[in-house]
Assembly symmetry: C2
Homo-oligomer: 492 residues x 2
């Protein structure tokens, strides 16, 4: 057998970690909280990047690159932002090492202390708005819509591969607009780009909504989010898009001359998704045999395993597989023929199941004679004998079917785990079972905080497409009037 | 007129800086030595990335991601490496900020001092070989060929946009092999990938060669390089590929079990190119009017400027341009129609010349009547009236011609500035004129150093394709025997 994976029912958290490590996605590095993203994991991230990058560009955004470092004083410019991000961060204090006096190692050279410390960016609003100040003079310079693909650092105390790491990879879009309406429309457009990507490529039935004030980004007037349900019933925030109002424009004094000649502060958005999406992808679909990857993001969509005893058999089978491979390639389907000669087919099957490859073809000498192959699908773990004739079309259709089936399975799971709850007593018993609870809330920070303190549950969002409602009712906690149900859950 | 550019003949260095800033490629940021890569500059870098990434993958390399931070002690493991890289680097000493006692700002929290300082990676050999240790057990695990696209930091005292910045973007490939021969072949293969890219896409006639021991990468047994000649006659090292021997395997104790069962240290290479290529590209081809971009890397290959007085004229011309645009797009040619209504055509012409767009089409109402357009090429600054009929094929061929012409111009310039020099007196007078001097050298570090001290010239490479020679002679400096001419130049 290939590497053993802990069962979900035994230890969900260990199951997740096993998958990440044993499927060769990522591992802990020698640096606390920083991960190594291994080639197989990075190949999935690259697919995500390419698809998202194209979608961003379709909206008119362009890529750029801003500095890794942020002067310490910049963080203090926006009052809420500094509260949110100045706490746990990597602080650069020196620009040189020298030999230690005992000659045995290196020390930070006291003569090379920086006048002002630099912070490794936890997010780039401050340095970018300090730059935009020089790019924006008049209404003709607007809108500006820049995105950057970058690494960021937040000094998390408890880290988990992909879900919460000190360094992670992400993209951050930062846009500047002449009006509040235009900025708000941009924030909404981008959260919908994320929702489409999550649904159509990641096969994750996310829900879109506004964050409650408690859960907003530090410095935002409104935060839009996509929230996904993991298989343990917890929520995972998979992407956010912020309407920042004029906060950063005011903090960095970014004004533009209107057509009429007056000066106005610029309106801002920012939006981002990160390697956390990898965690969401893994936990949405995988099972006790390993990863289940949606075909749209699988680095290898079809794996072919030759069955043989003699070298001539190996060669004949591989020759047939190469023909199939050429047909798949012509259809834009990626494949791999596993020619390793030191491993048994059963071992290979288990390994590719662990790695989540959507389709598997096995063929031996008898299949060659009969013109057949064994075609297995990862999502259902079923297999059938099929004619080799026309197998490429069959696989092409099967990949679509798998993509749809994975989405449906996740969708059905979520629907089975969403419940309306109307009393505080019921809330307390229901929330520990996991899932999303649709509840009335009085709209205050105090109530949300009290519920969180009592149950660890938070408002994941005030839904705006899925579960959107304008139902009047009474807050489950305070009994005060509510204008609609919001989504509560325990979250990652 | 658009923004004025300093003439090359007046002040070459200022000319370069003007181009970078005024053509919107990059600018200095608020952080010392760190640049902002603006969207137009980043679009060129992205094109470089996509082409190189594909070429790397064709060689079997895969992408991965390793941590930004390196534990201080890792740098000391490889004796030469620490000399080369520990000196000027960004040192992270704390992981938290807190409010300063006077309440006016933030300070690094003394309670959050790291036990071991972290260095922002200047290059990743150490952290990667520490990781490879866990990936490599037997010959079956080899070769490993990983590349990463990443940011790195080297605390340069004097910085210049793209050419020398504290933070820069690059790719670094790190490969692990069972034998010295295989590793050396990999290093050679990759320097040739760089040479092909430089010649065929950047239109830069680079020369390939070995570095002299003095100029090798810190920790390498052999460094291969591509060297380009800039228009001021200076050399620019545009990419390097290193044969690292077993130095890093020994420093991080990376051994593998051979087929025969013995344990051997692994053989390594590393290879990289950076955003410095942007500087090389700019300085190879541009002129006093602005950038000259090779069509293969130009974000916009064709710009169309409508000439009009009345709105109806504008609409008719733009409609025709959109037809041409569709034809260009179908041929994979990128284009932009400059519809800005607040700028005169002459201003637009100057702006797109400054930005190096290879082809320009201008059309007015009379052209519409005649079925003609004015087609201008950036490299020669010539223009002609051509029929609109078939203009797409004409442009497609013209772009190829421009690409070839730019290369040829740079090639001819280099050939006109390469000279054989045989005496020390002649060397001293010739070197100040710029260009590459092909000279005999006795092969010693001392002689190279003495020549550098006297003239600032260094050995750019011991050439292996262009100018390869095995001519015997006498060292220009020491008079001792030499086995071949090497390339001396003043370099960036």
């Amino acid at each position: 057998m290939a590497k053993e994976v802990t069962k979900r029912s035994e230890n969900y958290s260990q199951w997740y970690n096993d998958l990440v490590v044993k499927a060769d996605l990522a591992e802990q590095s020698a640096v606390r909280g920083c991960m190594v993203i291994k080639p197989y994991g990075y190949a999935i991230w690259e697919k995500m990047q390419h698809i998202l990058d194209e979608k961003f560009k379709e909206t008119g955004a362009v890529n750029a690159y801003f500095p890794l470092f942020i002067p310490k004083s910049f963080l203090s410019r926006e009052a809420e932002h500094v509260e949110g991000f100045a706490k746990e961060c990597a602080v650069v204090t020196h620009h040189r090492l020298k030999k230690s006096p005992d000659g045995k190692g290196l020390i930070a050279d006291p003569d090379a202390k920086l006048e002002e410390e630099l912070i490794v960016r936890p997010t780039s609003e401050t340095i970018i708005w300090n730059t935009y100040k020089n790019w924006i003079n008049s209404w003709r310079d607007l809108p500006i819509m820049c995105n950057q693909w970058a690494n960021v650092v937040r000094w998390e105390m408890r880290t988990r591969l992909f879900l919460r790491t000190a360094e992670f990879l992400w993209q951050e879009g930062h846009t500047a607009h002449a009006t509040a309406d235009e900025a708000m429309a941009e924030a909404m457009k981008m959260v919908n780009v994320y929702a489409d990507f999550a649904r159509n490529y990641m096969a994750m039935p996310v829900i879109v909504g506004h964050k409650s004030p408690n859960e907003r980004f530090a410095g935002a007037l409104d935060t839009l989010t996509i929230e996904a349900m993991m298989q343990d019933g917890k929520a995972l925030q998979a992407g956010t898009s912020h309407f920042l109002g004029q906060n950063f424009a005011k903090a960095f004094n970014v004004q533009y001359a209107t057509k009429e000649g007056s000066l106005e502060y610029v309106w801002a958005t920012s939006w981002g998704v990160s390697t956390r999406l990898m965690g969401a992808l893994i936990m949405s679909h995988s099972d006790d045999e390993g990863l289940v990857l949606p075909p749209a993001l699988a680095p290898i969509q079809v794996v072919m395993v030759p069955i043989y005893r003699k070298d001539e058999e190996f060669e004949a089978v591989v020759a047939e597989m190469e023909k199939i491979g050429a047909g798949l390639k012509a259809r834009g389907i990626s494949y791999k023929i596993d020619k390793r000669d030191t491993l048994r087919p059963g071992f290979k099957f288990a390994e590719w199941e662990l790695k989540g490859v959507p389709c598997r073809i096995a063929m031996g000498p008898r299949d060659l004679e009969n013109g057949t192959a064994e075609l297995a699908r990862r999502d259902t773990l079923t297999k059938e004998n099929v004619p080799v004739e026309g197998i490429e079309e069959r696989i092409s259709a099967l990949l679509d079917e798998i993509q749809a089936n994975i989405y449906k399975k996740a969708y059905d799971f979520r629907e089975a785990n969403v419940r309306k709850v109307d009393t505080w007593e019921e809330f307390q018993t229901e929330i520990v079972k996991g899932g999303f609870l649709l509840c009335h809330w009085d709209g205050t920070v105090e109530t949300e905080q009290a519920i969180k303190d009592a149950t660890k549950a938070t408002i994941r969002c005030i839904p705006i497409d899925t579960y959107e409602n304008h139902e009047e009712g009474k807050c489950i906690y305070s009994g005060k009037p509510s204008k609609g149900r919001v989504v509560f859950a325990i979250s990652y």
